[in-house]
Amino acid sequence: MRAADALCAALLDEGVEHVFGIPGGASLPLYDALYDSKLKHILARHEQGAGHAAEGYAKASGRVGVAFATSGPGATNLVTPIADAMMDSVPTVFVTGQVRSDLIGTDGFQEADVTGITMPVVKHSLLVTDPRQIPGYIHEAFHIASTGRPGPVLVDVPQDLIRAEIDYAPAEGPPALPGYKPPLQGNIKQIRIAAKALANAKRPVIYGGGGIINANASQEFRDFCRSDRLPVTLTVMGLGAYPAPDEQWLGMLGMHGTRAANYAMDEADLIVCVGARFDDRITGKLSEFAPRAKFVHVDVDPAEISKNVPAHIPIVGDAADVLPKLTREYRALEPETKRLEDWWKRIRSWQAEYPLRYEDSADSEIKPQFMVEAMYEATGGEAIITSDVGQHQMWAAQYFHFDKPRRWINSGGLGTMGFGLPSALGAKVACPELDVVCLSGDGSLIMTCQEMATAAIHEIPVKVFLMNNGHYGMVRQWQELFWDGRYQSVDTGSSPDWTKLAEAFGWSGLKVTDKKQLPGAMREALESEGPVLLDVHVTKDENCYPMIPAGHAARDMVG
């Protein structure tokens, strides 16, 4: 068969149902093969949208997300989602068309060296040089994208090679990759030492992250935390791995985390990190981070261990393998829960003194935090929430109490504005039975708002709850707090008229400015059949607190 047909067959054999993309000259043969294939192609309106949709699909389902683009500008438009998937470890495969192999290197029409451009931001990339490589490369790409620490893999296919006739047979077993052996099983001796250290700890904190979600190990994580009264905090990427609220739950940690979580890290004697990477939004000033603590670090990527914070007890392995063993070893020691009493007293005092709070309006004004609480009420906490980047993202992390994994989809590492809407489309395609709501900001939404057309045409009934503060709120907040209130280029004004824009795209749009109308409007939006945009006008100059100013220590939290 044609190599293009083999490529589609190989995707189907990997279990792919949906791909997101946009065609072009170099990918015409691939799109011709799609014509006869069982693959469902969802036409995005910008390759960045296709890429983020593939990410949303992967984050919501745990399956590999796939996006197609043509050569040159199509491929370069994918760079942002590829980098985003790298930073947040999202299992994705990107297939790009390339110019004819004899034109490569000649600055041919729509030629871009996409393997070169993306080299620093892919887990791996493969440039096809012989059509017979195509099925095997697809198999390798899926294996690499989805195992170990997941990530993006790019397959670049010159348009002459993909037209060649090749034989196709489904791949059997994992591909032979001599240089790729992700470690999966944790070393039992290390696990035992960790259990013993934990049994001796008087002020322990369990700090979990996105790796628990990747590992599908939320249940194992809960079991571990509940094998004793261990205080638990999560990064923004880990939210949902442990149910919030809960007796042992301290709230999120880091720059916009709770005081209880950050102060507990600061005073801890032992921190057990599971599937998190000591990002600078967590550590703040590295030299003053958790100065009294020893560290157990569980991560599937050995390079994460001791990268930023030296680990005393490193455990390399999949969280799903390590956690049950750690729980078993810890339980066997029958540790005295009483030893944690003083620690809990201290934590409770922080919780009582510094709960997350905001001053609600006395009139009809909608406070952004109130909006998130209303979303929680309206969805019963059951929806998938995707988010864009900014203040609204942090308020969602603080005030929406995620209690299941894969229900909170956001761009943490790269912090990509424009991620929210397309990732919501991907999530809805992956999980049609769940409500999917994108919480966005007016600055972020416009960056990929063309994907409203995708939702309309493909009848993907997502809801967008736009937190409209007329500003690049997060940047405005930093200018207010750290740049003497010299506001520069942060006012987004009153354009566009969002309800008109929504209607132009074939959505329903509704503007909400009165607090009393908000819960009803949200419920109605959720109940209606098609895609809906709620343009919610909130306080323009609210700041997101509490906050550790960048480069400071937990003790310096403000607000």
């Binding site: 393997t115 070169g116 080299m119 620093p120 887990k123 791996h124 990339s125 440039l127 040089t129 690499i144 990759l177 001599p178 240089g179 790729y180 001796k189 035992r192 030492i193 013993k196 250290a197 001796n200 700890a201 004697d269 032992l270 020893k294 560290f295 990527d301 050995p302 390079a303 261990i305 001791s306 990268k307 030296p310 680990a311 005393h312 007890i313 066997a332 020691l333």
Partner: protein
């Protein structure tokens, strides 16, 4: 809970994290798949992570599908452990050895063109002889010398001839191999 090899009681105050900087020169021997772009990936990783390579030598091995890359790095500046772990993440890198200085034979080759008019010529030739270097080209004003040895040895030869005027120098970077056991 007795388990051979683990302490029965783990006291937090006894736990230590391993030190990141070793303070010495390291030679890393990488076995890599001979695929297009593999060198670009390695070079890109070094620049992206801010690691500085002192020397780099690439060449074929006894297996035509596999190349060997020898890198030298300063362990006083770079956490070698982090460098090797990052390199391991490259799918085309099959094996990495942080070579043990005790059991490693390392050699580099250099070509040096030195000013050597009538007065200086004798001394340059003497240095060459002491360092067991070869004169491979001669002109009226210069001598070109080929020298093989450890990095340190070439450094000292360079120091000796530099006062005469070093016109041009090229070095290959070190390649290294593990000493075989005398009974094997």
């Amino acid at each position: 809970m007795g388990e051979p090899g683990t302490q029965d009681v783990v006291r937090l105050e006894d736990l230590e994290a391993s030190r990141a900087l070793t303070g010495r020169k390291h030679i890393l021997a990488l076995t890599v798949e001979d695929t297009p772009g593999v060198l670009a990936r390695i070079a890109g990783l070094f620049s992206r992570r801010g690691f500085n390579i002192d020397t780099l030598a690439v060449g074929p091995t006894e297996d035509p599908e596999i190349s060997r890359i020898t890198l030298t790095l300063d362990g006083a500046v770079h956490p070698i452990d982090q460098v090797t772990k990052q390199l391991h993440k490259l799918v085309n890198v099959i094996k990495i050895r942080d070579m043990d200085p005790e059991t490693t034979i390392a050699r580099e080759m250099a070509l040096l063109r030195v000013n050597a008019g009538i007065e200086g010529r004798g001394e340059v030739m003497q240095f060459a002889e002491i360092f067991q270097a070869k004169i491979i080209d001669v002109s009226r004003r210069t001598l070109t010398v080929e020298i093989t040895g450890t990095q340190e040895r070439i450094d000292s030869f360079e120091r000796m001839v530099r006062p005469h005027g070093l016109v041009e120098m090229v070095r290959t970077g070190e390649v290294a191999i593990t000493r075989s056991r005398s009974d094997s």
